[in-house]
């Protein structure tokens, strides 16, 4: 196990722990902060996984802008902190139980390695080297893959249509926020 892996596991544990705290804290504000913490951990993992640009906007946009919006609304509403109602334990048991079953269904994904995925995609018998199926660039390029330019080019060429759709989406969001938040129609 090398350093990268260790770092990965540390941040993974951090993310999971923060998420767990996020869903269990009774105070909405605390929950939001733990969610921000999860997002930071995820941003770190993104970097490890060679998605530097995404990691950057994860911190800037997601953890920064979006979550601040959340915090802002929470503060605005000035909600009183309601401690957990322990009479609702059956709901918790049911919810966590269902989530556990769902998790158990998803758990077999842990067995996926790049080799296995390569085998499944290429549909070849026996052991398949993933490097043959997934073209492997040199390490520098791999790092560069997550860079801005590398994302921007396809974003404005191949993914032009979705990109334009997001603009529509944001337009909708703007109108919506205005319409819904206006004091008076």
């Amino acid at each position: 196990m090398n350093v990268t892996a260790v770092v990965f596991y540390v941040f993974a544990a951090w993310a999971v722990a923060s998420a767990l705290l996020c869903i269990t804290r009774s105070n909405a504000l605390t929950s939001a902060l733990w969610l921000v913490s999860t997002m930071f951990a995820l941003a770190a993992i993104f970097v490890i996984l060679n998605a530097q640009f995404i990691a950057a906007i994860q911190v800037l946009v997601y953890a920064g802008a979006v979550m601040v919006l959340f915090l802002f609304v929470i503060m605005l509403l000035n909600l009183e902190v309601v401690p957990h109602d322990w009479k609702r334990w059956p709901v918790w048991m049911l919810g966590l139980g269902l989530a556990a079953v769902l998790g158990a269904t998803l758990l077999p994904l842990r067995n996926y390695t790049s080799d296995r995925l390569a085998r499944e995609i290429s549909n070849l018998p026996g052991a398949v080297n993933s490097n043959l199926v997934f073209p492997r660039e040199d390490s520098a390029l791999a790092v560069a893959q997550g860079a801005v330019g590398h994302i921007a080019q396809p974003l404005f060429q191949a993914y032009l249509i979705p990109f334009e759709i997001t603009s529509v989406l944001l337009l909708v969001a703007v109108i919506g926020a205005v319409v819904l938040a206006k004091r008076k129609l």
Binding site: T105, L106, P108, L109, Y112, L117, E120, I121, N123, F134, A158, Y159, L160, I161, P162, I165, T166, V168, L169, L171, V172, A173, I175, G176, V178, V179, L180, L185
Partner: protein, 499 residues
Amino acid sequence: MGIDLSSPGGATLALLPEILLTFWALVVLLFVAWRHRDGYDMRTAGALSLLGYISAVAATGWLAWRGAHADGLSFMIALDGFRFASDALLLWIAGAVTILSVRWLIRQGILAPEYYPLLMLATVGMMLLAGAADLITLFLGLEVMSISVYILAGFDRTRRASAEAALKYFLIGAFASGFLLYGIALTYGATGQFNFGLIGAQFAATPPTLMAKLGMGMILIGFAFKVAAVPFHAWAPDVYEGAPTPITAFMASGIKAAAFLALARVLSEVFPAMVELWRPVVFGLAVVTILIGNLSALSQTSMKRMLAYSAIAHAGYLFLALWAHSDEGTAAVLVYLLAYSITTIAAFGILASIERAGARTVLLTDLEGLFAVRPFASMGLSVCMLSLLGFPGTFGFIGKWFLLSAALHQGQTVLPVIAMVGSAISIGYYLPVVLAMTLKPTRTRQAHQTIRFPRPARIAVAICIFAILLLGVWPNTVLNFATQKAVQLRQSALPLGNR
């Protein structure tokens, strides 16, 4: 007319209807920003948005007329007859809802002309969803549509019910989006592609893997939510009841149509190779949706709620056509959606005009004796109920027959029987509406007499009723058209050899 979708010019051409509609939405938005004082402005905004729909229809028609098709791969957006048919269907729904909305909004005192651009952008989202040839487009289209409709459902936010509807729809919708997105991620992981054709080709070449199965399951869950299939249906009655009535009509017909059209495309282009895997899921969804939808509708007193459950039940029927997974099935989806949307819009149109400003939702008992005062409205609503019931002589029957036919031609007998059991149950809630209007004595004569049926809505509803009856006995054109479009859908998936 071959179009190279990878070039910006080609993409523009292919997306002409959507672009035009967006353009008009911006025009309306600008107009709204300029004038948003009174009912007159509202009406003007509505008329402008109708122009937008008309231009989008024209663009769709032009593309279809020129036989637009993709040179090579359908990139991001599909270019085939099925998409044009879907677009036409969705545009007609949106246009009709716009007509119904104009007076209704004014009467209810909702003087916010942003309504129209939102409706148009929602329609853009629906068209993108139904016409997507790529999971990214699909997701974004779905979100454009959903977010618009979240807002529209809560548009009458001075009413608590409307706000509550929006919240419920939004929370559960976002939750469902998460599932859909996870499904997309896993499918992407399993194939390395977002494009429908390429994924389909990949699945055709390899046996289904765990990741593919999970991905497909998650995507199905996402769609099951959108079409309000049991047990993902629970939001529907509440949201339908709380939302403004024209938006309810829009949701019941438009969103359902867009989701089903997209699902039909996804199932026939992305997952055709896994048909034996998803058929049992569709089967199970159909059974519980038909039975629970119909049974729950029995005990409703509110018309909107009853129609919500009826909408759930109809989603169950539509699964029959998906199960069939054949040209006939795809055509049946189109025909049934058309029949269902015409009927639903007419029914909601009549209900909307019966509603009084700020009053609670229309109850079954409010309809009693309507025939004596408003004979044509109640006849129209009766025809709608019969069409929803699938009564011979109405378009609804043709749709149902086509659905059953599609399933039976594939050797499926259980689902048609269950569908007909559901129909038999449904008579228990459709018939009382007819009964209340025509046979019960009126208790609220004065109330009925104050009903105002605005002319645009009246004309739209009359056309719908006429269409229900005419297509009920003369469905040739529609049937042939739908079959032709279904064949085109198959052919557009064919070059990649995934059938």
